[in-house]
Symmetry: C2
Subunit: 256 residues, 2 copies
């Protein structure tokens, strides 16, 4: 049975995709069978793993809107043991198309239930909003990974995020919890980063990983080569951070 | 008659709010009467200009959903000549509530028409998506400001953004054009930033401002004090860049 994690935060540009792609790659390289589900119409997780838009036939849109099975739509990628349920631009229309459906928030969860035996881990990358695509990711998840950038605006959005998670827990997915909070693009020398880190610790205490992801240009270069950092520059500071985070997630996964 | 600019890009964290807040502040300090419209439920432009959530009575939600006038809802802020139409979390519900309305894309445009004589410039900050709130910003605008982060993922979203702008131009707002493209968080030393800059120039040629905004920690510190950079650290590299960009926008504004 797969453990399903969703990487969510409605604040934009905080490292959701970078976290989803790189933790997934290290999990797969350690031997686990992993599926990355890209629920962002931008399709950054899809291209970050080297899948070109022109090669995509069926996508997550077909699963959510046209009732196709996950198995029909997944693609392999640059990493062994790692499959991707790709996103394309047409996914942008899914929010409107799903809106009138009965239990529109649980379409993804139902689709993944049939696939659970094929994977050990499912990691979902969500878009920067709290709309229907992110709600589907929250409802399908067993637990959450929250990347939080060590910046003031990123801090502001936490209470909104926590409230939404609470709402999903009460109405649809009672077991949902925050598995890991990751401080991203952390420059520990700045006062702002320290202040944000302290505030995040107050909110989430022991769920905040002691492994912070430093700002590291190699992380932002890797996607232009369609590779996770594990294959692009495994000795970089960014790679070492995500390798450690993947190991921490393996430990969390065993408790689920 | 006010010139209305919208700051848009569906990619998250590229500097939309930082651009909207800081250009607006310099325009206001130069003597122009400016209104910032915050259409992002995160409300970062609102808090970035020092307005606390607890002080907000009526907001952009009331304009869009409850038919209140802009004049009833605007608030003054830390900068003279600068008013803010604030955003609150309840704005997140506006996308769903506006969905069934006739000409739901032009609600903001109609509301601003009555206000146009009170301001010289209206600057709208959009959320990281291409949903109904961003569509309202696009339909209300005379011209667009596109912040583009010099990163690979930010590049990927350009074609999607351009296609959406084209659609709005064809169906709803025929005069809409891109006034200015700004390269943000630009670290000119990295090869990636140079590659992205070249690609952006290929797409937008003379609309790309020669003023790039460097990565500058003071820009990300200013919002935690509720101040635009012009009041927080006017001699910083970030301040000088936005001051220049505001001057360039004044020249563009005179042509409209
Ligand atoms: N630790 C890091 N160091 C340097 N650059 C990073 C780091 N993490 C992410 N980036 C870069 O910062 C940008 C934002 O990261 P990313 O796209 O992963 O965030 P996101 O939260 O998924 O954004 P969105 O909200 O648009 O989905 C990307 O260009 C990415 O390559
Ligand atoms: N030139 C810069 N140098 C350093 N930090 C910056 C710069 N521009 C923006 N920032 C910081 O980067 C983060 C992202 O910027 P900002 O919030 O303005 O982007 P956005 O596009 O409005 O994000 P969203 O998509 O969530 O609305 C913020 O924490 C901001 O303070
Ligand atoms: Mg992303
Ligand atoms: Mg913003």
């Amino acid at each position: 049975m797969a453990v399903v994690y969703a990487v969510v935060n409605q604040k934009g540009g905080v490292g959701k995709t970078t976290t989803a792609v790189n933790i997934s790659a290290y999990l797969a390289l350690s031997g686990a069978r992993v599926l990355v589900v890209d629920t962002d119409p931008q399709g950054n997780a899809t291209s970050g793993l080297g899948i070109r838009r022109s090669n995509i036939d069926l996508s997550v849109y077909d699963v959510l809107v046209n009732g196709r099975s996950v198995r029909d739509c997944v693609m392999s990628c640059a990493v062994e043991n790692l499959d991707v349920l790709p996103a394309t631009l047409e996914l942008a229309a899914a929010e409107v198309e799903l809106m009138p459906r009965i239990s529109r928030e649980t379409v993804l969860r139902n689709a993944l239930t049939n696939e659970a035996s094929n994977y050990d881990y499912v990691i979902t990358d969500a878009p920067p909003s709290l709309g229907l695509l992110t709600l589907n990711a929250l409802c399908a998840a067993d637990a959450l990974i929250l990347p939080i950038q060590t910046e003031y605006f990123a801090l502001e959005g936490i209470s909104h995020l926590v409230r939404t998670i609470e709402m999903v827990r009460q109405h649809i997915n009672p077991q949902l919890e925050v598995a890991m909070v990751i401080l991203t693009m952390a420059d520990t020398r700045t006062k702002l980063a320290q202040q944000v880190a302290e505030e995040v610790l107050r909110h989430f205490n022991d769920r905040v990983s002691s492994t912070q992801v430093p700002r590291n240009i190699r992380l932002s270069e890797a996607p232009s080569h369609g590779l996770p950092i594990a294959l692009y520059d495994p000795k970089s500071r960014g790679a070492l951070a995500y390798k450690k985070l993947a190991q921490e997630l393996l430990i969390d996964g065993e408790t689920r």
